[in-house]
């Protein structure tokens, strides 16, 4: 029989579990772990349970959220690639000379404003890429969801019929 444990479970493990709670969608699990710990389970047991819960939930999360994951990977890769080709190196010229010229203006400004300027240009550049990627993602996910696609098509064609009805009649 285990002795009752009046201490709180490891804070870091609880924090980690709370971070994953929206993913795990299982607050009762966190409550069960806390209750079992207070009934005398060890800290190492608690850690093992937390890691186990997260690892077990991951495949299901990846299955449910594969679109978001693909978007995150694709978008991160796109930003890195765009950044790499925008900055000229000894091997290649800038693929986006106008953007680079805008960025290079920061070199002529005195520090720390040069840093502020270049971070602002970089952020704006990444914002444009993310906006394009996000737009493509929504367009792509709509195409993958036939119900939404057909609803959208039905709505568009209905609106079109209503708008053009006076012309047709």
């Amino acid at each position: 029989m285990t002795r009752a444990n009046s201490l709180q479970p490891p804070r870091l493990a609880t924090w980690l579990l709370d971070q994953f709670s929206p993913v795990l969608q299982n607050a009762p699990l966190a409550g069960d772990l806390m209750e079992a710990f207070k009934q005398g389970r060890s800290s190492s047991w608690y850690w093992r349970q937390v890691f186990g819960a997260i690892l077990i939930a991951l495949p299901s999360l990846l299955r449910k959220q594969w679109g978001c994951l693909a978007y995150a990977v694709g978008c991160s890769g796109l930003i890195q690639a765009a950044w790499f080709f925008m900055i000229p190196t000894a091997e290649h010229d800038s693929a986006l000379p106008q953007v680079f010229a805008l960025y290079a203006k920061g070199y002529a400004v005195q520090w720390p404003w040069s840093l502020v300027y270049q971070i602002a240009v970089l952020t704006a550049f990444q914002f444009v890429i993310v906006a394009v990627a996000l737009g493509s993602y929504f367009a792509f996910s709509r195409m993958l969801n036939p119900q939404t696609y057909f609803e959208h098509s039905w709505l568009s064609s209905s609106c079109w019929r209503v708008v053009t009805w006076p012309l047709r009649s």
């Binding site: 609880t14 795990l24 299982n26 607050a27 009762p28 699990l29 966190a30 409550g31 069960d32 772990l33 806390m34 209750e35 079992a36 207070k38 009934q39 047991w45 093992r48 349970q49 186990g52 819960a53 997260i54 690892l55 077990i56 939930a57 299901s60």
Partner: protein
């Protein structure tokens, strides 16, 4: 020939534990009972994953209780076996008994 969901050994164990515990079965006692009966440490995460899978199949239902301070304000989730789940357990038992009877090395169905 019947087609449909088969249950795994851990799903069967979980459903039998739910039946043993009766009303008021939630994560902690379920995991403890499984550990006592199997003599193995179980992950509460895998118990929940299994019970959620059984719930999707319609063999188990769950409901949330009231949040309590001892559990950091988190509610208990109570599970129970449905009639469909009971049928599935009985059918699985019959299948296992038939299979056992065909293997004399395992005692031919005698427990």
């Amino acid at each position: 020939m019947k087609t449909g969901n088969h249950i795994s050994d851990f799903e069967l164990i979980s459903m039998l534990v739910l039946l043993r515990l009766g009303d008021g079965a939630y994560g902690v006692p379920i995991a403890r009972e499984i550990e006592e009966q199997t003599k193995r440490e179980v992950k509460l995460g895998s118990v929940y994953a299994t019970l959620e899978r059984l719930e999707e199949k319609g063999f188990v239902v769950s409901e949330l209780g009231e949040p309590t301070p001892e559990r950091g304000g988190r509610a208990k989730r109570y599970f129970r076996v449905t009639k469909q789940g009971m049928r599935e357990v009985r059918e699985t038992r019959q299948i296992l008994i038939r299979l056992w009877q065909g293997v004399p090395e395992l005692g031919g169905g005698r427990l």
